[in-house]
Symmetry: C2
Subunit: 338 residues, 2 copies
Amino acid sequence: MSVTIRDVAKRAGVSIATVSRVLNQSKPVSESLRKKIMKAVEETGYRPNAVARSLIHKRTGLVGVIIPEIYNPYFSGLVQGIESIAQQSGYSVMLAVSGKSVEQELEMLQIFQTRQMEGVILASSRWSREHRRWFTQAPMPCVIIGRPAGSLSSVCTAIIDNRKAAYEAVRYLIQLGHRRIGMIRGPKWDRASGEERYAGYRDALREADIPPRRQWVAVREEFQVIDGYQGMKQIAAAKEKPTAVFCACDRIAVGAMQYLEEQGVSVPGDLSIVGFDDEELARIVTPSLTTVRHQPFEMGVQAATMLTEQMLNQQKMGKEAVLPHQLVVRNSTAPPSE
Amino acid sequence: MSVTIRDVAKRAGVSIATVSRVLNQSKPVSESLRKKIMKAVEETGYRPNAVARSLIHKRTGLVGVIIPEIYNPYFSGLVQGIESIAQQSGYSVMLAVSGKSVEQELEMLQIFQTRQMEGVILASSRWSREHRRWFTQAPMPCVIIGRPAGSLSSVCTAIIDNRKAAYEAVRYLIQLGHRRIGMIRGPKWDRASGEERYAGYRDALREADIPPRRQWVAVREEFQVIDGYQGMKQIAAAKEKPTAVFCACDRIAVGAMQYLEEQGVSVPGDLSIVGFDDEELARIVTPSLTTVRHQPFEMGVQAATMLTEQMLNQQKMGKEAVLPHQLVVRNSTAPPSE
DNA sequence: CTGTTAGCGCATTCAT
DNA sequence: ATGAATGCGCTAACAG
């Protein structure tokens, strides 16, 4: 059996209340008893049970975090940012990996609720009516990362302006002189990296009066290197070839470049490539990748900061933090050769 | 106020015991009451409080995980593996990032204990007498990843044979014909990636009767790309140059290659490079990296499996899982040119 | 200053 | 089959 406050009290010859008082320094206790008690604590190796404390105070000191996967540096950056703020605010984080499944996510949200999380951060790409319902009824403050919270007024969000960022990236290609520009995009159910970045791409084309071409847009379900490879393969199969391809993320861009290298297509000589995320990969690949930089770590920090703020005030609010992004020009882009 | 079992009981016109019984299906309850209660649960949106349950059952369903950082794919792979097993065993994961500080880690272990974790997994590089003490007295089963647990008989470990793996990598260089082989190694306080891989390097040299050269060994405190860059710079400053360099990890290898490229040294023409980890980077960098593959995800799975096994049996044990590794030959290595 | 007591929310005896 | 009562480990209000 684990040692309880009662064991300590007995050993020190005092009441449990007195033990509690010295451990929490909640009330003055005579020096003599204090010493006896500390000695008993030492000898028994007593550690107060945080579960019992939580039950009394209705404060668990726990925040729940859900991410679809952790292997992607974007998500691990988020987690690291969240964890650092949580830690320095005295909170512990419960991490759940949803694997992109809506059902899993909802189940985790339920678990977070029964486990009395004081705050919840969700960094997910999927969204459903049940999600919406859950966040509406959730008793604790919540922050959603990476996608607007819709009309939810009691939920904070930390995002970047994906549409604008994508628009700027494609505009840069147009300014270089490109007019035949393709895109390897993410899935339609992914609001941020799927839909919004595609919308930004369309914005830039529209602004330059460039009619969009179906054959130059490949839709992928995942954001892995292989998706870039397959997406580029699909686009390359079109009769007329684009001179530039904007990719929904760096991994896709790398995969695209791998396919092009296999086919003997020179980057950026024959085809320019732009990525998104500026993960470490982007600097290391050859040629180094022109891409959109943003800061997942900082995003996690912001999200956790908004959350702790709400937890302190004991009330939910609906702030939106839009983090900066920036086009980083490297060596995978050049004016078209013709 | 949050809704409790009492509210449900009142609303359904029954005692709290009956509500508890239908929710846990612990005893038969008449169909009529059962329906009334379920209705009351629906209407109130009642969720049982897991904290109160934990207090009764002395089971929190929580496992604590400590990693030094999450940004490195090795650690995120571990976490993903652990999380997947924990989840399917009905446990939730509390994640703590220690930032390599011994004090932080010890504090987290204390927190894990007060928070009544049912199991603890530590993937750390540092070690101290206090660590040892903590694991000896810890009431819950523990698994240490990445380093032998010393003489701790009640702690499981999941490791790879770093020394042998490093030995094989360097032996491969020797078989290619190299005799002037350097190493960019990790810090001395890092048992696995620092000391053991260096020991393996020395083993291979010794076996081939190659005297070690101080100038060809660079010691780095971190495992980042910049460390490889600086380490290679240091080694390149030696009067006589090596023809091959074994690196303690892939990032270091990439950094080394970046320096060499800047200096116009061809890889593998003038100098061969071997990495360690086989992270995604290794396939993508040019030239692609010869490296030692192992499986962090699988390691996390093994660790979590050993942990859940112990938690089920309610007793600690001292198993050791040694996971496989494998040299993957790519394009960064070749016979020496002379 | 110190001890006794009443819960925190729930599961589980023990009665009925 | 159901309800009342006890207690998990601890804190806080109440007495002394």
